[in-house]
């Protein structure tokens, strides 16, 4: 699973930066087109729900999603990792 912030909904309150136990959300630095400073994700692969949701088959933690007053945080299914050929030129 992949953690994502919906920029069209986020109002930049930074509540997520406070409550994530892994401190994945960091305060953003520059405003987006709407003028909202959307938080940035710091190594989101550490998120419990990202790592283990499919293994356990249920929502884990999810405090950021419940807390987000603007319904901007959600998880998306990742595309399965595919091996691909890398051409190396000598």
């Amino acid at each position: 699973m992949k953690l994502a912030i919906d920029e069209t909904r986020c109002k930049g309150c930074n509540l997520c930066t406070k409550i994530c136990p892994y401190k994945i959300f960091k305060e953003g630095k520059k405003p987006n087109r709407k003028g909202t400073v959307v938080p940035e994700l710091d190594r989101p692969e550490r998120c419990t729900n990202c790592r283990l949701r499919n293994l356990y088959g249920r929502q884990l933690c999810g405090v950021c999603q419940l807390t987000c007053p603007d319904q901007a945080i959600h998880w998306t299914e990742e595309e399965p990792y595919e091996l691909h050929k890398v051409a190396i030129e000598y």
């Binding site: 109002k11 509540l15 406070k18 909202t36 419940l66 603007d70 319904q71 959600h74």
Partner: protein, 262 residues
């Protein structure tokens, strides 16, 4: 199905200010409703007037956005006329405790099978930050510019005294606990009252030294006193600090209820 499916996606983002706790409370309530496995056609959300009361407009069920303070009276009509419907009421501190105080007392007394989620931001948010019946003593608002001198209401004590079957209080910081509390409230026959203290950065925080949203949430977190701990402190004869909010499941009983599906 997750609680996100209960939103009217075409209405989001909602009108609440950045950092408003009401959105959090809607999330927790919908998560609890979703866990109950209720159908959308069988669930009705009712509200009065105020910031909190805009909530049903964002939920994909039949919903009733009524007049100021009267949400419980409307909900009583809905529930009594059709007990098959699950009725959840969103309300705020001004809506419930001030103009709707009488309806609140009588809904508790009747112990009618409703679940009431009160988003208590301790201020009138929508009209621009006037003092409400739950504004703590000394707090600044646009109608208490020298500090609130009145004694605030303890809504949970009121609900318990008036006869509600289930009463609990949490804050917008305690999302998981709040979700569980709402779920217990939904499961309990009779009147369930869940008070959720929320931050209002625009109208309350701005005037009361909470410059950042997170400051106010931190304050709510630090000033929450678990009921179990309060009871231990009382037993030990310790003094409970006045600025603490007792959180947890405050009342759970099974008095005869009205409007329960036979």
């Amino acid at each position: 199905m997750s609680y996100e499916d209960w939103f009217r996606q075409d209405r989001l983002p909602h009108i609440y200010c950045a950092g408003c706790g009401n959105g959090t409370i809607i999330n927790c309530t919908l998560a609890a409703v979703d866990e109950m496995g209720w159908k959308k056609e069988e669930t009705i959300f009712v509200s009065g007037i105020g910031c909190s009361s805009r909530a049903p407009g964002y939920i994909l069920t039949d919903s009733l956005h009524t007049t100021h303070g009267r949400a419980l009276a409307f909900a009583t009509g809905v529930k009594m006329a059709n007990p098959d419907l699950h009725v959840v009421v969103f309300t705020g501190d001004g809506d419930l405790a001030a103009i709707g105080g009488n309806h609140f007392i009588h809904a508790c007394r009747r112990n009618i099978d409703l679940t009431v989620v009160c988003m208590n931001n301790q201020i009138y948010g929508m009209t621009g930050g006037q003092g409400s019946p739950t504004t703590p003593k000394g707090c600044l608002s646009s109608t208490t510019p020298y500090g609130c001198t009145e004694i605030p209401f303890d809504l949970c004590e009121l609900a318990t005294a008036a006869g509600a079957n289930y009463v609990s209080r949490w804050t917008s910081y305690h999302v998981k606990e709040l979700e569980k509390a709402v779920k217990v409230g939904l499961e309990t026959p009779g009147f369930s009252f869940i008070e959720a203290l929320v931050q209002c950065p625009t109208a309350f925080g701005r005037r009361n030294k909470f410059r950042q949203v997170t400051d106010h949430v931190e304050y709510l977190k630090v000033h929450s006193l678990l009921k179990a701990k309060r009871d231990r402190m009382l037993e030990a004869g310790e003094k409970i600090p006045e600025d603490m909010y007792v959180v947890g499941e405050l009342t759970k009983r099974s008095r005869p209820a009205m409007g329960v599906k036979p």
